[in-house]
């Protein structure tokens, strides 16, 4: 049989053997059997030299082509088998729950505080801070609170220190601040105007814990002092911030109220789809007003030159509204099933 006549059957045999190799070792054996030094295909190539000179080119060309074809088939089959070998023995069930890393959550009060702070910072407010143990001067006197105002009462305010002095008039015991407004005074006494600050922090009222009260809670205070500041500015800024925090569908309403440290004093009600869902027209959310000239005088600012506004509101209340939380105590129990929801 001529060499060329042997070529096609041998090639077919080799291709079939490569295709039949079921794993990599078998494939390598098969390779050796045909293309190795003693392989059948190598033997065929060795016969090339025995051919007459005029037949050599055509035969050489045919053999080379067949060899390339076999090598390509070998590489393809090797890739196939390598891929097969790389597959895990047990196929992966991609619907299984993955191996999760624990990721902690920020407390919902932190998240709400951060959102509010971010909204105020966008319009130029800086965050300020002050002590939680305060004195009567910063918490009440300087804020124009009358000397016999009920807020100062030991029924409503926690005092610190020797309780035998509690009933002593003028004892001036330190107290736990009842509002973040005390920081207004501290900042104004330490910085010249203009002032533009926001103060998140803990405050304390002497209320027994129940679904809507906790002796400890959080407030945010804002203060803006500059020349020519008006009620219109107060409304505009508060509206911008609350739209940012509560959503652009929120509507605000300002109505007259009374606080000793602002004049005029206003309360802010808001409404949105959520409030309507609660069956209400408006929900009270914050108190605010133009800084009382007496407060400016107390800190040494000239009320004829400087005007300003201040506001304050409870963070728990906003968080409760935002997330539909109905019991304030949940914030302080730190149940991880609660914390992980936010």
């Amino acid at each position: 049989m001529s060499l060329l006549a042997q070529l096609d059957p041998l090639k077919a045999e080799a291709l079939a053997a490569l295709a039949a190799a079921s794993d990599l070792p078998t494939l390598e054996q098969t390779k050796g059997a045909f293309l190795g030094g003693d392989g059948k295909f190598t033997a065929l190539m060795k016969q090339l030299g025995t051919l007459p000179k005029e037949e050599k080119p055509a035969a050489g060309k045919a053999i080379n082509a067949a060899k390339l074809e076999l090598e390509a088939a070998l590489a393809a089959r090797r890739a196939e088998l390598e891929l097969k070998a790389a597959l895990p023995k047990e196929p992966t069930d991609w619907t299984l729950p993955g191996r999760r890393r624990a990721v902690g959550k920020l407390h919902p009060l932190t998240q709400v505080t951060d959102d509010i702070v971010r909204a105020f910072r966008k319009v130029g407010f800086a965050v300020a801070d002050g002590p939680e143990i305060e004195d009567e001067y910063h918490c009440f006197d300087a804020l124009n609170t009358p000397a016999d105002h009920p807020a100062r009462d030991s029924q409503d305010t926690f005092y610190v220190g020797d309780n035998s002095r509690l009933q002593t008039p003028g004892a001036k015991l330190p107290l736990l601040r009842t509002h973040t407004s005390s920081v207004q005074i501290r900042v104004m006494k330490s910085q010249p105007p203009p002032i533009r600050i926001i103060v998140p922090g803990r405050v304390y009222r002497r209320d027994n814990a129940d679904a809507t009260h906790n002796p400890t809670f959080h407030q945010i205070e804002g203060l803006y002092v500059d020349k020519h500041v008006t009620v219109g500015d107060l409304k505009g800024t508060v509206e911008a911030v609350f739209k940012d925090v509560l959503g652009s569908d929120v509507k605000l309403r300002f109505r007259p109220h009374y606080f000793s440290y602002t004049e005029p004093s206003l309360e802010i009600d808001f409404t949105n789809a959520l409030v309507k869902k609660l069956g209400k027209d408006w929900l009270e959310i914050a108190g605010c007003g133009m800084v009382h000239p007496q407060v400016f005088e107390n800190v040494g600012y000239d009320p004829e030159i400087w005007t300003g506004w201040a506001f304050g509101f409870g963070i728990e209340r906003i968080a409760m509204l935002r997330y539909g939380i109905t019991d304030i105590r949940l914030f302080y129990e730190n149940d991880v099933r609660f914390l992980r929801q936010f």
Binding site: T110, V123, G124, P174, S265, Y332, N334
Partner: protein, 810 residues
């Protein structure tokens, strides 16, 4: 303060709906906290008059009637036979319901309907239909003097429909604790006149009162004004319907005509009044009583109207006769002189007491009344006589008797009218809206302020009525203008102006970064109570900041550490089967330093339970957290601050909180915090089953000392060589000692030393442990040769052998 729609309408005209009134009052600053609609009885039933009665074609029994209802005429088909043209009847209008009968689930609503081709526009009612009796045969025929169109309930003297408003009166506006005060606000908004009841019939130039009573003010500072008026020959009895109903609608119990009048006038004018039985007041030498306004004696006993005997102090003001106390000034009358059924002559007290004193007395005795509520907020010193006149007028009207002409008005220093100037431009400047000066002045005068005639274009001076105790300076007037102009009409202006600065601003972000780091490390953020139990604090009493007036012993001190709160949170979780908990808290703690309370921020960690989240395969899936988990978290946290020289100093012994623990310091000097494992006994006490790991760090200290400056180091250009070293060392040898020994040997080009194995057991003698370290050598400027590395490494190994008695394992 409760007030009703109908009551308000007696003092000012307005045609707002009940809802609109609520909205208007709220926007004036009188927040409406509740609105209660009183349907009243017989809603939609009015007195009608039959004008004509004719037969209905096609019916034997029915008649078709023309009936006047007070506003027009209606056609009414009626089956009853007992009425004639001219009769007054009880007519119910369409779309109103008959009273609910026994057994009915829903009331029967009268509708317009067609009967025999005629539309009947209502119904004439029988007694049975109105629930007034069993007689259902014929309709009610009313007396001829019944007023056509009058609500049937009013005709019967019963309560008609009304709306009760519960208003939140802010403490600065005591004048709004009165119906007239609220009506005045409405008058100012509507521009309609305020109709104050006319008492001119009571005023009398004759003053025979001097023969009946004298008043002596011993304490004019506490009682600047006291008026007394006497009505003789009254007949004490039930109040007329209008008076009783008016009081009951606003929640005041009717007692008797005389007492009800004093309450009514208090609600009407805001001036608390008291009525004494004149004859129970002791008479002096001149045959007439002298009312003495004095301080109570120390330990003086006095029985108030509620029959409680009270022990008084000289801080309390007493109304007395010359023998005994008869009223606790401004708070409550005395049982000894109260109005009785047989009282004939009445002395009316209308006085002004200073707010602070009344508040203190009321608080000291734990006794609050409508009267003390008003006095402690500040009454109108100017209104005392008017209120007394009004009370006398109504007593005469409801209880008969005769007025003793005149009044004893002890008012030694009449209040001078305050005057406040207003610069009109200042209003615009503060409110951000331009309001014409004329309009500003009009707003103020409509509220009862007087404008003095010295106005120029720029400013004006106003006299302040005595009832407006809140108006003290210019800005207070501007607030009034804002209220009447409408705060909602002030246009909002977009944020503008200065950008704020504060040193804390950057700190806020640094704290936020710590929070994010710790949540990223898998811990949930907690917020604990600031107030904790002293019993659970480790600190000594001297260091603890205690509350003077705690609510309970559970919360009697300010937390000296965040750890007790976190332990509580662990317990809370464990008790709810959340067994794997990792929490952190950032918050303030409070300690007493030399008697002065000091606060500082800390960050604390608390861990218990499984190391990793639940998983469904793996040998170590059930692994519990251990001390090195805590240590790793603390290391990550400390690394965040970029501090150098942090040391963990092992404490030799367990303490009251920790089983094993270490103090974290900066170079052994600056205390940064501590970490360790909770004492098992304590853990058990809190029902914590697994080991509990705790750490607390002084955040303020970390923030202050932290170094967040970062600078780039070029990446290495040349390869590193690694040498591993396993050695046996005594159990007590610390990792830190190994590092120190290596460091002191100063092996050349040593880049890092990493511990990769600690082993005890097979082939390791007891009392020893095997430590395995990877040493990495690298030079910045060349590839190190084996000889270079070996020389350096030998130096390190020799030092370990020498200093730590280490046995190198080959």
């Amino acid at each position: 303060m409760k007030v009703t729609l109908n009551w308000l309408k007696q003092y000012v005209d307005f045609n707002w709906s009940p809802e609109e009134l609520a909205e208007r009052l709220t926007m004036l600053g009188l927040e409406v906290e509740g609105v209660q609609k009183l349907g009243g009885e017989f809603a939609g039933v009015v007195v009608g008059q039959v004008l004509a009665k004719d037969k209905v074609a096609g019916s034997d029994k029915l008649s078709v009637n023309r009936v006047a209802d007070g506003t027009g005429e209606r056609t009414i088909i009626c089956g009853a036979q007992n009425h004639q043209p001219g009769d007054k009847v009880a007519l119910i209008l369409p779309n109103f319901a008959l009273p609910l009968k026994a057994g009915e689930k829903e009331p029967f609503v009268i509708k317009e309907r067609k009967v025999f081709g005629v539309v009947s526009q209502g119904m004439m009612c029988s007694k049975k239909e109105l629930g007034l009796g069993e007689d259902g045969d014929g309709i009610i025929i009313l007396p001829p003097d019944a007023k056509v169109g009058q609500p049937f309930a009013e005709h019967l003297g019963r309560a008609g429909s009304d709306v009760v408003y519960d208003l939140e009166v802010t403490p600065n506006r005591p004048d709004l604790n009165s119906v007239i005060g609220i009506a005045r606000e409405i008058a100012a908004v509507t521009g309609n006149a305020l109709k104050v009841p006319n008492v001119s019939g009571i005023q009398n130039p004759e003053s025979r009162i001097q023969n009946h009573v004298a008043v002596r003010l011993d304490e004019p500072a506490l009682c600047p004004r006291y008026t007394a008026r006497v009505v003789t020959g009254v007949k004490v009895g039930p109040s007329p319907d209008w008076l009783r109903q008016t009081l009951e609608k606003v929640g005041i119990r009717s007692i008797s005509n005389v007492v009800d009048v004093t309450n009514f006038v208090m609600l009407e004018t805001g001036q608390p009044l008291h009525a004494f039985d004149y004859h129970l007041i002791a008479k002096g030498a001149e045959g007439k009583p002298t009312i003495v306004v004095r301080r109570a004696g120390a330990g003086e006993k006095f029985k108030t109207l509620d029959n409680q005997e009270r022990m008084l102090t000289p801080d309390m003001l007493l109304i007395a006769d010359e023998q005994k106390g008869i009223a606790l000034a401004g708070v409550m009358g005395g049982a000894n002189t109260e109005i009785r059924d047989d009282t004939k002559d009445v002395l009316i007290e209308s006085a002004y007491f200073t707010p602070t004193n009344i508040r203190r007395t009321s608080k000291a005795l734990g006794l609050r009344s409508e009267s003390s509520y008003r006095f402690e907020r500040g009454c109108d010193v100017g209104i005392a006589d008017y209120a007394s006149q009004r009370a006398a007028q109504l007593i005469l009207e409801t209880a008969g008797g005769a007025l003793v002409p005149g009044v004893v008005d002890a008012y030694p220093q009449p209040a001078k009218a305050k005057e406040i100037s207003l610069r009109f431009a200042k209003t615009t400047e503060l409110l951000g809206v331009a309001i014409e000066p004329e309009q500003q002045a009009k707003f103020l005068t409509s509220l009862g302020l007087g404008q003095l005639p010295i106005a120029n274009g720029q400013s004006a001076t106003f006299s302040i009525p005595t009832f407006r105790v809140d108006l003290k300076r210019e800005v207070d007037l501007i607030e009034e203008i804002a209220r009447l102009h409408g705060v909602d009409k002030i246009p909002s202006t977009a944020p503008r102006g200065a950008v704020g600065t504060n040193a804390f601003d950057a700190v806020y972000d640094e704290i936020a970064a710590v929070r994010r780091l710790l949540t990223g490390l898998g811990l949930n953020e907690a917020q604990g109570q600031t107030l904790v139990s002293k019993a659970e604090c480790r600190a000594s009493s001297a260091e603890i900041v205690a509350l003077s007036n705690p609510l309970s012993s559970d919360m009697d001190v300010l937390r000296p550490s965040l750890l007790p709160g976190l332990i509580h949170s662990l317990r809370h979780n464990l008790s709810r089967k959340n067994n794997d908990v990792a929490l952190f808290e950032i918050g303030r703690v409070f300690t007493s330093v030399n008697g002065q309370p000091k606060e500082e921020r800390r960050v604390a960690l608390a861990l218990t339970g499984a190391r990793a989240l639940a998983f469904w395969s793996g040998d170590d899936r059930d692994a519990k957290l251990d001390a090195m988990d805590l240590k790793g978290l603390v290391e990550d946290l400390l690394e965040h601050f970029g501090l150098r020289g942090i040391m963990f100093g092992k404490r030799a012994e367990p303490n009251e909180l920790f089983l094993e623990s270490a103090a974290i310091t900066l170079g052994g000097k600056v205390q940064l915090g501590e970490l360790g494992q909770l004492l098992p006994a304590l853990a058990k006490q809190y029902d914590l089953r697994d080991a509990v790991f705790l750490a607390e760090l002084r955040l303020d200290e970390l923030l202050a000392r932290g170094n967040r400056n970062k600078s780039f180091k070029p990446l290495p250009q040349f390869p590193a060589s690694r040498r591993d070293l396993a050695m046996l060392v005594p159990e007590a040898t610390t990792h830190d000692a190994v590092l120190q020994a290596i460091k002191q040997a100063k092996p050349a080009n040593l880049e890092s030393v990493e511990l990769f194995d600690v082993f005890r057991g097979k082939n390791v003698p007891a009392g020893q442990k095997s430590l395995a370290y990877a040493f990495t050598y690298r030079a910045a400027d060349k590839t190190l040769t084996d000889a270079d590395v070996n020389a350096a490494h030998t130096k390190a190994v020799d030092a370990l052998k020498l200093k730590l008695s280490a046995t190198v394992r080959e």
